[in-house]
Each structure stands twice: as structure tokens, then as C-alpha cells.
């Protein structure tokens, strides 16, 4: 069964906390990874890898540059789950 956006957001919060040490409650939809959460391109790769383990959705390196905000990732995972 597909996850709700809130479930994806909660899971993403756990990942960001684990990868970058940013508290999960700061990982809100409108936040920019680079500008608000101070997450760089290598941490984005780690987030993508962890997201694959957690959600079963592969996020290729080429897609990472398009995922600027937390909501972008939630949408990407959501859409990938729907099309899967």
C-alpha cells in the first residue's frame, strides 16, 4: 500500500536526522535542503541511498539536482510509488 505524504515526510525526517544531524522536526515541506538545512550534494546522495532502503524508491544522481526542497522529495517518492 502506498504511503501517505505525512508518512513519507516522517520517514524523510528520520533520514535527514540520521545523515546530517538535523532534528526531524525541522524537516518541514517548505525547507530547502541547501539553504535552510545546510545539506550539501554528498549528503543528498546519502539521503537518496537511505530513501531507497526506507521507501524502496530509487532516486538517481541525475534527479538529485531537481530535488531542492523537502516537498520535492516527498512528491518524488509519492509519484514513484504511484507509478510503481
Amino acid at each position: 500500500m502506498a504511503m501517505t505524504d505525512q508518512e513519507i515526510l516522517d520517514g524523510l525526517g528520520e533520514i535527514v536526522d540520521e545523515v546530517a544531524g538535523v532534528p526531524a522536526d525541522q524537516v518541514t515541506p517548505d525547507k530547502s535542503f541547501v539553504d535552510d538545512l545546510d545539506i550539501d550534494s554528498l549528503s543528498m546522495v546519502e539521503i537518496a541511498v537511505a530513501a531507497q532502503d526506507k521507501f524502496g524508491v530509487e532516486i538517481p544522481d541525475d534527479e538529485l539536482k531537481n530535488l531542492k526542497t523537502v516537498q520535492d522529495v516527498v512528491n518524488y517518492v509519492h509519484n514513484a510509488e504511484v507509478s510503481a
Binding site: L42, V45, V49
Partner: protein, 324 residues
């Protein structure tokens, strides 16, 4: 026809390292390319690196490191019958570096060859040396990783010039005496592999080109594919990761090192972080890091250390060794 008389196992008798004297700091690089000390330290974990002089060759550095390892082993040049130099940055395709290095060290008529497995080169060479000693085709082998990456770096490219550096590290490999065979071999089975489908992730196109690296792809591969290789090397050697005194991966990027170490799960192991002051020296990085740890007295004789080399090819190799 008959086989050579083998030995119960191979071990490392001594290490040696050499680094050029010139230190290049991040601040110095920031004067010529658009970067900062903070950016470099947070992305790759390097504070400074050593760069060879314009006339200093791969062979010069290999001789310095190999000579130190030989002196520390208590053996003489006449005891060495095989010299392997792991390098991907020789001055020229022929002659090889190994024969020149052997002659300059006074080693007469040894088997001598260069080996290119890029940043995995030292582990490949060590595995080859251990097998030669064990099979009885070499009594004592001098294994050297030596690189002058600075001559293949575009010093105007801020994504690569901050990473690569120069240096050499060496080990003398010899037989485990029959009387000590019960203690087990000093060099465990090598686990090695490659994937040519990822050849385009790290490469030098031709002799007029510089090192190119697809950073994110390499980072993703290194942080997901290598801890199982490291675990497999432990398993083959019969050493649990919890028994490791140290983990010495190729010094590619501090964040790769930390990610692999976390996934390996070796709580007691000191993790080598020589990259902070040495940069990425490809095949030299593992013996350089390990010899520095031994020199600082961080590792007792007989303790188990996991080595993991990985890089262009892509290629990788790992083995457990005991500290001499």
C-alpha cells in the same frame, strides 16, 4: 614437473612511508581556484596535502619508501627476489618503475613489475605478493604503492585539485616460519573485484588530459558497495569485525571513510584518517596511513587490521593483515 615448495602463510615484516616535503594548504589553493578551507574540509576532509617537487619522480618516492621498509624489516637487498610497484602515475609506459626501484635499492635481478589497479593497487599488490610467498615463487617480496597524482591534476579544476596528492608507502612480505604457523597467516585472503561498466566514473582520457571524477556517482558507489567487500574479507580471514584493532581504507574522502566504517561495524577499530594531512595519494594511501599509525604506537604487534582499497576501474580489494 613439480611445484615450488610453499610456506604455511605470508606476513608483513615491516612498513615504510615517504611523503614529499612540500605542504600545500587549503588556503594556498584558495588563492588560485574558487574554494575555501571550510568548503574543502567539509566536503572531502582534507586540511593539507603533500606535493612532489617538479623533478621528484614516482621512482624517487618509491625508493624512499621501499628503502625505509627494507631497513625496518632487518633484511638486506639480497633477501628480496620480487618487487611489485602499484602505481597508476608512472612517468612512462616503459621501462616499468619496479625494475628501476629495485636496482636503486641494490636488489639484484629480482622479478619486477608494475601493477595498475588505481587506488586499489596496494591491496592487489599485497595479495599477489602474499600468494607468491605462500606458493614458494618468492621468498621475500617488496611491495610499494607510489603515486605522483599532481602531474595528472588540472590545477584550475577546483573539484579535483583539492583532493589528489603525492607519496609512497611500502611493505616487506615474507613467509610465516613453520614454528609460528599455528598463530595463523599474517596476511588473510584477498577479496578483489572490479566493474568495468563504471569505467567512466573516474578516468584520465589520454596523455594530454587530467583526472576526471564523477563525484556523486563515486560517492554513492563507495558508500553502498564496499562495506560488504570489507565484511567478506573479514569472513574469509576468520576475523570478526569486532576483533579489528584498526580499519585502514583507501584515503579517498573522509566522508566516504566514515560512511564505510559506520556500515562495517567495527567498534574497537581505530579508523585511519590520514587523508586530513596527506590528501588522496591513490595506491600509496593505505601503506602511508598504516605505517604512520604504527610509528605513532597506536597498534600493537600482532593486532588485526582490515585494509580496503577502491577506485578507478572501478576496482576494489580488501584483506585482513596482522601488524608486524
Amino acid at each position: 614437473m613439480r611445484l615450488a615448495e610453499g610456506t604455511p602463510g605470508a606476513r608483513i615484516l615491516a612498513f615504510g612511508g615517504y611523503q614529499p616535503t612540500r605542504v600545500v594548504t587549503n588556503d594556498e589553493l584558495a588563492q588560485t581556484v574558487d574554494t575555501t578551507d571550510e568548503w574543502i574540509q567539509s566536503r572531502v576532509g582534507i586540511a593539507e596535502r603533500r606535493i612532489a617537487g617538479p623533478d621528484e619522480t614516482v621512482a624517487d618516492m618509491a625508493v624512499a619508501a621501499g628503502g625505509k621498509a627494507l631497513a625496518a624489516s632487518g633484511l638486506g637487498p639480497a633477501d628480496i627476489d620480487l618487487v611489485i610497484v602499484a602505481t597508476c602515475t608512472p612517468e612512462a609506459p616503459i621501462p616499468n618503475v619496479a625494475a628501476t626501484v629495485a636496482t636503486r635499492l641494490g636488489i639484484v635481478a629480482p622479478g619486477a613489475f608494475d601493477l595498475n589497479a588505481a587506488c586499489a593497487g596496494f591491496c592487489y599488490a599485497l595479495g599477489t605478493a602474499a600468494d607468491a610467498v605462500r606458493a614458494g615463487t618468492s621468498r621475500h617480496t617488496l611491495v610499494i604503492g607510489a603515486e605522483k597524482l599532481s602531474q595528472w591534476v588540472d590545477w584550475t579544476d577546483r573539484s579535483t585539485c583539492i583532493i589528489f596528492a603525492d607519496g609512497a608507502g611500502a611493505a616487506v612480505v615474507g613467509p610465516v616460519p613453520a614454528a609460528e604457523a599455528d598463530a595463523g597467516p599474517g596476511i588473510g585472503p584477498v577479496v578483489w573485484g572490479s566493474d568495468g561498466a563504471m569505467a567512466d566514473k573516474i578516468f584520465i582520457k589520454d596523455r594530454d588530459s587530467f583526472i576526471f571524477q564523477e563525484g556523486q556517482a563515486v560517492f554513492r558507489w563507495a558508500t553502498t558497495a564496499l562495506h560488504p567487500v570489507a565484511r567478506q574479507a573479514c569472513e574469509r580471514a576468520g576475523v570478526d569485525p569486532s576483533e579489528l584493532a584498526a580499519f585502514v581504507p583507501h584515503q579517498a574522502n573522509l566522508r566516504i571513510i566514515e560512511a564505510i566504517a559506520r556500515k562495517l561495524g567495527a567498534p574497537q577499530a581505530i579508523v585511519a584518517t590520514d587523508i586530513i594531512h596527506s590528501g588522496n595519494t591513490s595506491s600509496a594511501s593505505i601503506p602511508l596511513a598504516l605505517s604512520a599509525m604504527i610509528e605513532r604506537g597506536e597498534l600493537g604487534s600482532g593486532s588485526a587490521v582490515l585494509l580496503l582499497g577502491f577506485g578507478a576501474g572501478i576496482s576494489y580489494a580488501a584483506q585482513v593483515v596482522t601488524v608486524p
